[in-house]
Symmetry: none
Subunit: 413 residues, 2 copies
Amino acid sequence: MPVCEIISVGTELLLGEILNTNARFLSLELAALGISVLRQTTVGDNPQRLAQALKDALSRSDIVITSGGLGPTADDITKEVCCQVMGFELIVDEEILTLLEQFFASRGIKMPHSNKKQALVPLGGTVFRNKNGTAPGIACEKDAKCVILLPGPPRELNPMFSESIRPFLSKYTNGVILSHTVRTFGIGESAMAELAEDLLNSENPTVAPYAKDGEALLRVTACAQTAEQVESLCAPVLKSLLERLSPYVYGVDVNSLQQKVVELLTEKKLKVALAESCTAGYTAKRLTEIAGASKVFECGIIAYSNEIKIKLLNVSPDTLKEYGAVSEQTAIEMAKGARSAGGADIGVGITGIAGPEGDGSDMPAGLSFIALADGDTVRVEKIETGKPLDREYNRYYTASRALNMIRLYAVNF
Amino acid sequence: MPVCEIISVGTELLLGEILNTNARFLSLELAALGISVLRQTTVGDNPQRLAQALKDALSRSDIVITSGGLGPTADDITKEVCCQVMGFELIVDEEILTLLEQFFASRGIKMPHSNKKQALVPLGGTVFRNKNGTAPGIACEKDAKCVILLPGPPRELNPMFSESIRPFLSKYTNGVILSHTVRTFGIGESAMAELAEDLLNSENPTVAPYAKDGEALLRVTACAQTAEQVESLCAPVLKSLLERLSPYVYGVDVNSLQQKVVELLTEKKLKVALAESCTAGYTAKRLTEIAGASKVFECGIIAYSNEIKIKLLNVSPDTLKEYGAVSEQTAIEMAKGARSAGGADIGVGITGIAGPEGDGSDMPAGLSFIALADGDTVRVEKIETGKPLDREYNRYYTASRALNMIRLYAVNF
């Protein structure tokens, strides 16, 4: 399979003024075509540095795709630099020139002289129409190397890739690459990697662990002639991983814990109500990221103060006095209160200390209690994140633990 | 001034699985320090390719900053490769090792053997504490070159840069560089830039506009021998910007809209209660990101269904029948209901259609109504984002508008 590099051109990228979404878009598209991306490089609007980046990339890779620097202004230099590096002559493409003139005429504007340079194309190159702008895409092929120049604006680059570049690249690809992601909760990246250690060195499929938002993921990627062959390469590895990690795996190729929770609650026809103190809406916010969450979640109560816990959640003042707001007992009464307030099948109560300051007691920030109550039973979890200063993590992780408790309840329901 | 390159390490970046926000963050921060970024490079978790990328970067630049590849697993190789390229020996840092062991102990977990490698640091290098994760940051300085290794997760990298790397880099910059950020809400980036057009070309201070999370920002950066001189360069420009943008500016050098809201409510001794339907906790979650929010926010009610709106917020069934759940009238009754349920000074009611699906009516997703009620008056805003398919944006932007309504009420209180 050919290897590819992506070069993003634009000083605004080096200044951090815009986020480079093109490199990600192109990487995703190329992976789907089975073309592996060796490097992504970003350079400014500087001819020498762009020329050097192009030469470096061509020395390592078969295909180089650039984005940006095809505009009409003096600092748009990608086409000129590429032709000089590849040894192509630039000539006027009358058809493109006519299209450009029509483009401006249709907007009732006379074409600025500077736009004429956008009608220059490399003699012997391939030109791709730009339906959403003035800069055509271009491919220069020589000595078994291919450089493809794409416009910078995503609304021009993305459709051009789908309509013209993907078909153009098919002659370079033989086979497919596909990945599956195993998502776990409740185990660290390194502990997970140890359980999968012998698989981490396999060649095809490859198995790569990584951590994301306090969760541990494993990506299984295989390459073969057909999608079917890829799947049959992945299947045994996935099976083995699911066996080893079964207590922790919440899904394969699902987007998030909350997505899985909403799927399960919908499937089991269960409604949940939330009472949140330290997470203060974070759990509800994440549940409702999922379209259709309203089928399984109707009611959440954010109760920071004791008064609100008593008034809206029917928590007993004695409980608060005897055990404190951050306690197993209060979490349980909050869960029961949420359940009855929301008329839900299960209620979840979350109380803790988000940090960075403590609550005046000797309890550490990062400590929280989560209770889940259905009609008959109650379960409680105590959490200590050990990150007293990290309010965001404490809130996010506590919400994740609550979501995972709901998931496990629904799985076993 | 020194030149710098950024190397992002991670196969998931080359596969397009995640967007490279670190390169942008670092570029913005370095620009603010007056350090120009020559290149951004992304390579996978591959020792040879990372080594080559490091050598290439060091041959062109004075400073190289990497992100990613400092984790505990076998494919985390940045530190090892950097030390090999720079000729540094790795030794165990007992202090870091103790911190790691405490980190796991606090979670009641035995530290996995693989995490020990995170306590390895280059002999003669500089180590930066990671308050939000297990991988310390590292700087290797040799032969007038400096390589700085940072962890990949933005939650760890961003605070580490602000707390440790920015001060560390000061010795590489001559003079003082300071920037101020003017944050606005309710005006687009280009409209804002037009109002500031003549200032955008100034040299010292520089004025750079950018857009972030649906807000428009202006960064004013000056360089001089002393902080006082920098401030006196910035002052007139800031003054002029605040005059031109006054209806939109919510703060200078504040972190977020919610931070400003919590500051203002605290200062004015006002308590707010929330009733959220379409945002379903997003507004409360953002308010409570701010430590100390409990002083001004005690009660939030998430009411997705009509039943809950009636039961917990005392919304009249007739109102729901006559005007519908997504209406000015329902928003007003939700605001009043939240205010009395929470015993707060002001109540805010938010009802709308987050999307991507509509609610069965002819109203578009992205439509919402926000009402704010104090004892005497009520104000309502109608919002149409025009992005029916973008659930996340609709929820985030609607929450931002609610926060901005609270801000304006408090400003004028």
